[in-house]
Subunit: 376 residues, 2 copies
Amino acid sequence: MDNKSDAKVTPWEVEGIVDYDKLIVEFGVKKVSTREHYLTESITGELHPLLKRGVFYAHRDYDVFLEKYESGESTALYTGRGPSGYVHLGHILPWIFTKWLQDKLNIDLFFEFTDDEKFLYHREYTLDYVRNVTRENILDLISLGFDPKRTHIIIDIEDISYLYELAVRIAKKITFSTIKAVMGFTQSTNIGMIFYPTLQIAVCFLPTELYGRQTYVLIPAAIDQDPYWRLARDIATSLGYPKPAQIHAKFLPGLGIGGKMSSSQPETAIFMTDSPEDVKRKIMNAYTGGQPTAELQRKLGGNPDICPVFKYYEMMFEDDDKKLKERYMDCRGGNLLCGPCKSELANRIISFLEEHQKKRESMRDKIDEYLLRNKF
Amino acid sequence: MDNKSDAKVTPWEVEGIVDYDKLIVEFGVKKVSTREHYLTESITGELHPLLKRGVFYAHRDYDVFLEKYESGESTALYTGRGPSGYVHLGHILPWIFTKWLQDKLNIDLFFEFTDDEKFLYHREYTLDYVRNVTRENILDLISLGFDPKRTHIIIDIEDISYLYELAVRIAKKITFSTIKAVMGFTQSTNIGMIFYPTLQIAVCFLPTELYGRQTYVLIPAAIDQDPYWRLARDIATSLGYPKPAQIHAKFLPGLGIGGKMSSSQPETAIFMTDSPEDVKRKIMNAYTGGQPTAELQRKLGGNPDICPVFKYYEMMFEDDDKKLKERYMDCRGGNLLCGPCKSELANRIISFLEEHQKKRESMRDKIDEYLLRNKF
């Protein structure tokens, strides 16, 4: 049996080596094509590397969203985070793209922290733990430079009064059979988890409610969140809202063999709060596409296509296309060995994190400026 | 097959002739005994007819609640209403007893309007409809003379911020299997209904949260609500709250043969907004325990035991035990015919409703004084 067909991608578990083309068929989404690239570039003036390099690779109505934006319709961005632990590079990848979109389009971003979901999903989590993690995660988000005037954070439990009426209207349209099929729930799933999807869907429709006019929403997020949006789109029209559009990202890989970066394997993940020593150690221990010895590597060349170290350059740490191509060719040709390639990556990550961590501490008293409840 | 075993009693349906003794066994509750009567009387100085005459007939820890009250522990009352339509006499019966308890014990009453439940349950209901019905129902409640300082109305959707955190803590303890078994849900139940019980349970624990001290809660309500309290008691301790106590009422019968008073059969129900003509017509058309002719009735006597008209005297419109007994004997002995007995009842109901309807209109601008959100 093919390894790829074993991959499991749900909002709560991503296991195995993901076949992204298969997901397009499974989830019934569209591949981002040159048409969407042209449309984006004509509005934004440039193409973000995450789009150009196919990290944001699939979508539903991304083109329609851009056309609505162009024609002056009311639009907004929506994404979020399940505060289950510390934020790592894999989490911020879609946020970086979201910020770019927000800067280029100059529209509001609604950002949901699903504290209820994480409390309900993890048997051992307390509300205090989730609350604290949410605060810490917010620091990582806003340190990326989001504009507080246009960035509205909603925390499910604290801000439930903004969501519950929408949620019951949504819930009335979804039976247990449906949610079971879409989310993979069982008879043993707790009734909080069963209801929770209504709150993630609710934010798709919240901008229309808050602005008092039909608002087209684009959701940039990792592709594992797709089941929520499928449901949201199914019921949007009957509730009187535009269908939300999505643009789906691939996962940043972990530093081991295959699989996405995951907090549950901390030695293969780079957290935003990692020290320079942590980063150095983890990167130097990373799996690569290299040969067993330097001699062999010089002779046979490395394989950047399967190498997480190369992926990190491609996805986050080398914006220059020419230099990225050089790195690829030098690796394949045996001219670039894994040691220096890793070492350079570690240095880039370390300086990125150093700046981030400095900003992060300075943001502790800025959180209030981002909270939706202080603005709507 | 015995008619009685066919009765169906769930929070959403009460069908057939209810065997109240069987419900005690089925639900695992206790019969209210002379011990509870003595305990009540020793605290309140008198026994309310609804208790004395066995309308409030079953309980869980009612005695424990009274003992906690006596020993100076923090206590509160909790009951509620699903705002699905206009209020009838059957609805206010437990409210009358609740008010008596509140007056005697001088403690807070938390009263929940489950607008979300009714919106979610009835396919055709809109939120606007439920909102409007809630406002109308509140008028009927507060017109009974509840003290606004001690009576706190909570409306689920509008006041969700008081309930949601409790609800997710509760939800985490309840699987779909459990809720399905306890509430009789199916695969086609919508996910709002599946989650909703957490909100009815949440109010059991709300007084402890609002007062900041362990608070013993007594719930006077019709017995069909028992499944909620069973669940609430199962999880109370693990969440750190005292188990809520209940005292269960029988249903006021409808004016037809068997069954409880129900809005779905408006000609057999007396609504708080009915005109004198409505009342007269409905009562005069009521089923009774009488004989086919006056002559036969004089000869054989009537049967007050199966007569809804007699039940109305017993449960709501004749507080004087001596007079009630006379009415019973006169009916049995053939000295009291159905015509005058009905006519007298209609008059009593009409004057009760006339006073109620006058008060009701004067309460429209008093609602705010009762809302929990204006006080906590």
